[in-house]
Amino acid sequence: MASLQNPALDRILDFAGEVGLAVILHCDVDIPLAKDVAMGAAEPAYLSEIKAVLKRHPQTTIIWAHIGLGRLVAPPEGYLSQIDGILSDPDFSNVYVDISWDVVAKYFVASREATENLAAAMQRHPGRFLFGTDGAAPVNESKYLSVFNQYAPLWKTLDAETSRKVRLENYERVFDEARRRVRNWERGHVARVGAN
């Protein structure tokens, strides 16, 4: 099982760093339903391996999708402090997290405390969280906008500046830089098409 130590992943992340490709990596931080099956575990099953892989590629911009949570991976006890630890560590300055997916939004709007804890983490690291929907083939506008609307309690809790960064500006910074670097790489590695 499992794969964060597979050199194939290192090759991918090295290449992304060389080209300037932004990376969106999905990796559950824990085994499914860990709360039920791994009571008392010191930390989520994959946390140390994830940290190791993020640290091995400091030149690569990596967005850790869903802050490592998922359908069967609820935030473990004190999880946001562990995320806080990563985002505070200069060795992880290449790392961002996204709060996409309706199942993830559910965790953070389940109670006022959960929303406030997330807002506090964001306000400590306003440049490092990105909003995303994780929409998949939506059938209409209301379906597409549902995750953004689901986070309404968060948007009300955040200070205006952090909210703007999470909703808009962090995306622009990460992806503007990616566009610029990838186009630059292509100039040197792809036969030029078109002129003037």
Binding site: N6, I12, I24, D28, Y46, Y171
Partner: protein, 348 residues
């Protein structure tokens, strides 16, 4: 909308205002100015400008000089003692004037004022519509001695996001209470204002979006643009690399569309990247600017995965911004990938 000295850079309507008059700038000159303003207070190299504004195209760097010259002329700037753009010979340019952001309400008022200027002119409006134009511009109720316009004027206070159709409906409902000629002029006015792009700043950019599902179906990208409307600005867009197999042996006639709908395995479906690239390329330049396509159709446990990524970049230059979403551990997904393809743990 950005302001510097008496100028406003209207990034929604792509124009430059000095006070209330519109300055003439070619679209490319506008892009150059905008790029410099948005990266004010740092040196922007010629190479960076070329990469940002002429991707995929070879352009003689001398061209930038020409645009800078044109912009300086419009701004009334001087090369030797610049107020706006400082030149660093052979290196690049820096926008040096203090830049501030202007609020949406203020800038929206400006587009309405622009509409007024472009259509019937202030004096005509004043004559025909009394205070309607002013009310529209300021969104504040004006004092008026002409009681006949009260109703129209109140309706004319357009709220952000209110559609012209709604306003026209209100006006028509009050048609009898308004003077016919003035109301007609007003409708024309609203129509023109509506034809201009509205300054509705997006509420969010979406860093994580799959245009397709587990069987590579999804909306046409233009349909999706409609769903984004004004609320979503930019979207990191990708397919789903893991295709759900429809195994007749497992599911019979029940066609699964989601990874949780079937016990049949998932497999890597690289064509999803070509699909996304072609969808992106089918868009206009302005529409493309709203997307950051991502490469995702590779098996992250395969030492050859980087070759796929490189191949996609070379096949579709100018398209992709990143890679992902790709998955290492994910509840049932990991178990549904046949064991021989699964990334296995290697102790080093």
């Amino acid at each position: 909308m950005r302001q510097f000295h008496s100028f406003r850079l209207d990034t929604v309507n792509h124009c430059l205002w000095r006070g209330e008059s519109r300055e003439v700038l070619t679209p490319k000159a506008f892009d150059v100015l905008r790029y410099l303003v948005e990266h004010a207070e740092r040196l922007v190299t010629q190479e960076e400008l070329l990469e940002a504004l002429w991707p995929e195209t070879y352009v003689n760097p001398e061209v930038i000089k020409k645009y800078i010259l044109g912009i300086r002329k419009v701004l009334g700037d001087r090369h030797e003692n610049p107020e706006f753009i400082r030149t660093f010979p052979r290196r690049g340019y820096q926008f040096i004037a203090p830049v501030s952001a202007v609020g949406a309400a203020e800038s929206s008022a400006l587009s309405v004022s622009a509409a007024k200027q472009l259509t019937i002119g202030e004096s005509a409006l004043e004559r025909l519509g009394g205070n309607i134009g002013k009310a529209l511009m300021s969104r504040q109720q004006c004092d008026a001695d002409d009681r006949g316009f009260d109703c129209v004027r109140v309706r004319a206070r357009r709220k952000p996001g209110m559609q012209a159709a709604t306003m026209i409906g209100s006006l028509l409902a009050n048609w009898r209470e308004a003077r016919c000629a003035a109301a007609m002029v007003f409708l024309l006015f609203v129509g023109v204002a509506e034809a201009l792009p509205q300054n509705n700043d997006p509420e969010f950019n979406d860093s994580h979006f799959h245009l397709t599902n587990n069987i590579q179906e999804g909306p046409d990208i233009r349909e999706f643009l409609k769903m984004m409307g004004n609320r979503a600005g930019r979207v990191a867009i990708f397919g789903i690399p893991l295709q759900q197999e429809w195994s007749y042996r497992v599911d019979g006639d029940r066609a699964p569309t989601y990874y949780l709908h079937s016990d049949a395995p998932l497999y890597y479906y690289s064509f999803t990247d070509a699909w996304i690239a072609m969808a992106y390329r089918s868009l206009t330049k302005e529409q493309r600017a709203r997307f950051d396509p991502m490469i995702t159709g590779f098996n992250p446990a395969d030492m050859y995965a980087v070759d796929h990524i490189r191949r996609v970049l070379r096949t579709f230059p100018g398209v992709f911004s990143g890679i992902g979403e790709f998955t290492i551990h994910k509840e049932f997904v990991s178990a549904k990938i046949p064991a021989k393809w699964r990334a296995c743990r290697i102790r080093r």
